[in-house]
Amino acid sequence: MILLQSVVNGVLLGLVYALIAAGLSLIFGLMEIVNFAHGQFLMLAMYGAYWLAVLYGVDPLFSLPLWTIVLFLLGVATYWLIIARVLRAPMLAQIFSTFGLGVFLQSLAQFFWSPDFRLVPSPLVKGRIEILGLFVGIPELVASLGAVIAFALLYLFVTRTETGRALQATSEDREAAALVGIDSHRMFALGWGIGLACVGIAGVLLSNFYYIFPEVGFPFALIAYVAVALGGFGSIPGAFVAGIIIGLVEVLSGLLIGPAYKYLFVFLVYLIVVFTRPQGLFGRY
């Protein structure tokens, strides 16, 4: 019973990890730039949902579309204002540009909103349900359902629409895509927009049950990096599967072996994959 409960929790948790990783993976697959500010964008979305709930009484569930769009626009803006300028710069400059952005956003949050911990006061989805002795938090359930829907939409978009295919083409071969008339800059901007929209959805869903403070994004982003590497750089199904694997490994190793070692096993799984299949589970490279 306890084992089953843990599996359920692991999957629910993993789906949220996966959604965060998907945005990261998309951006990387497109232009080989790691967004080190990913966790901070997650934090921004969480604060966004929080402030709308506190100041205007808008439940995170209703402000979800708004923040998805805002984060999308932020992504596009980030691309044009920062990333486009360092696209041909040395890798170190690219790393520092996103890393610096992350530090900036975090400090900004600390400055404006103080380092206090906050929770969205009585969100619409709260409490838990009991099914055959299994306890499932409703906000967690909603979050993972939201993640699944977001994933499905993302997958459909990338594989079934003209723009999505253009995005894929750019990701596979920038020059060839340019030859057939795909503007790679527009595709990159779109990739950033979608990538941050993913993290925006994850952030708003998390804000239903997770505490919010300026540094909240870091541990999630760290796990997302592992998920991206595990699933394969640039692979969206890879991020999905890897997120769930990490969630399961974390919860099960914590239960069966000892909480002190749970992250050890997460990284162990990652190392095993890196050794045996360096391109990641679904990777192309």
Partner: protein, 426 residues
């Protein structure tokens, strides 16, 4: 204009110089001012905590230097009577929360500012290095607020610590459990130990394990979990499987919040949760978890509701609150108390000579009615400089407030035990 200045420039220079010389002349002569150094993380992540220490110190110095009708040492006189009414001046050094800066600042205060003693430095790691500088230079270092037990295991001659440490306060929990059994017939048999896995939590678990054995409780599970986990379901699952009577916790704020939420979500019930302050007494804790935080016990070093049983606390707290706008809490109350311990010793020594001051500190005996802390008093162990009369209190969250519940003679509310299950709460 320029010509005028040139004509009178010597006059201007002379005026400036005399401004420098005259105070210097006043400074010589009998001791009118005693300088004490205080090293705290005034800038950086702990700046808000350091402000509490600073307010406590400033307030104490005001009471010592001026005439107040209070039952605290040296309150009724102006300055230190045995040194001709000399006044205390505190010079602050900023550690920025770094052990290296803490050491350098302590050195600067002692050699540059010629302070006669140093207090500080809140964080155990910084206290360790700052007191090393004082030890080397032969100046007393009085620590009001660092609870790492390793600080008194170094064989230092010039180190004194007023606060009880994690060792003493872990022991207090088990004294509390025994007292509960004696007074209320509450029988606890099994305990679970949950600690975060950095130095602090690891130490706490070690002491709790030691005392559990000594007092005859069975530890059914002990876990060190990674601090700042994103998820704690496996930890709570383990607790559910182990079914302990009581859970001991040592967590920082983010984990304390997440544990409370996860326990509720997974319907984990136990007789009581005994927390080692930190996250569970952080002002953000109750603000975030709300009524889900009710019934949790925590050890504490101080609580303003002690005033209900100890009038001096109420009087001092009222004055403090009027001036600074908030209640005294553990950090400000301890630095406040340390200044009295130091001033009392300097006054008894009748001199600022280091060895005389050290001797006076060793002879310190302040009874519990002379301090605002819930301690038995202040008396230092000559072997390691620890205040042997220090002890913590235990508070319980009831109706979204912290109330002192133990020791009994200081309690402002009765304990609620066992805590209601999640199903019973509404």
């Amino acid at each position: 204009m320029r010509g005028t200045f040139r004509r009178y420039r010597w006059l201007v220079l002379a005026a400036l110089l005399s401004g420098l010389v005259i105070p210097a002349q006043l400074g010589a002569g009998p001791v009118t001012e005693i300088k004490i150094g205080a090293v705290y993380p005034l800038t950086g992540a702990l700046a808000s905590t350091a402000k509490l220490s600073k307010d406590g110190i400033d307030f104490a110095v005001d009471i010592i230097n001026n005439r107040y009708d209070l039952a605290l040492p040296l309150a009724k006189s102006e300055g230190l009577p045995n040194l001709g009414g000399a006044k205390i001046r505190v010079i602050f050094g900023d550690t920025q929360g770094s052990p290296e800066t803490g050491r350098a600042e302590t050195e600067r205060l002692i050699t540059g500012e010629k302070v006669v003693a140093v207090v500080g430095a809140y964080q155990s790691a910084v206290t360790a290095t700052a007191s090393m500088a004082a030890e080397r230079l032969g100046v007393p270092f009085l620590n009001p607020d660092s609870t790492s037990p390793t600080l008194i295991q170094r064989g230092f001659k010039w180190f004194f610590r007023a606060t009880p440490d994690d060792d003493i306060m872990s022991k207090n929990f088990f004294d509390f459990l025994k007292d509960l059994e004696k007074k209320k017939g509450i029988k606890v048999r099994t305990v679970a130990l949950v600690c975060e896995n950095t130095l602090w939590g690891t130490d706490v678990c070690k002491f709790e394990r030691k005392y559990a054995k000594e007092y005859g409780y069975e530890v059914v599970t002990e876990m060190l979990y990674p601090a700042r986990s994103t998820d704690l379901t496996s930890e709570v699952q383990r607790l559910k499987a182990a079914r302990p009577d009581v859970v001991f916790m040592a967590s920082y704020i983010s984990d304390a919040i997440l544990y409370t939420q996860t326990m509720k979500k997974l319907d984990f019930n136990t007789q009581a949760i005994l927390a080692m302050d930190a996250g569970h007494v952080d002002p953000a804790f109750l603000k975030t978890v709300g009524k889900d935080g009710n019934y949790i016990f925590s050890r504490e070093v101080f609580s303003a509701d002690l005033g209900q049983r100890k009038p001096i606390v109420r009087i001092v707290n009222d004055m403090f609150k009027k001036r600074y706008g908030y209640d005294l809490e553990g950090t400000s109350a301890r630095s406040f108390t340390a200044m009295f311990v130091l001033a009392d010793a300097i006054n008894r020594a009748g001199s600022t000579e280091p060895s005389a001051l050290r001797r006076a500190l060793l002879e310190t005996y302040l009874t519990s009615d002379k301090i605002i802390m819930p301690w038995g008093g202040v008396r230092f162990d000559p072997a390691n400089g620890q205040n042997v009369l220090g002890r913590g209190i235990i508070v319980q969250i009831q109706d979204l407030k912290y109330w002192t519940v133990w020791p009994w003679h200081l309690a402002s509310r009765d304990v609620i035990w066992p805590m209601p299950t999640w199903r019973e709460r509404k």
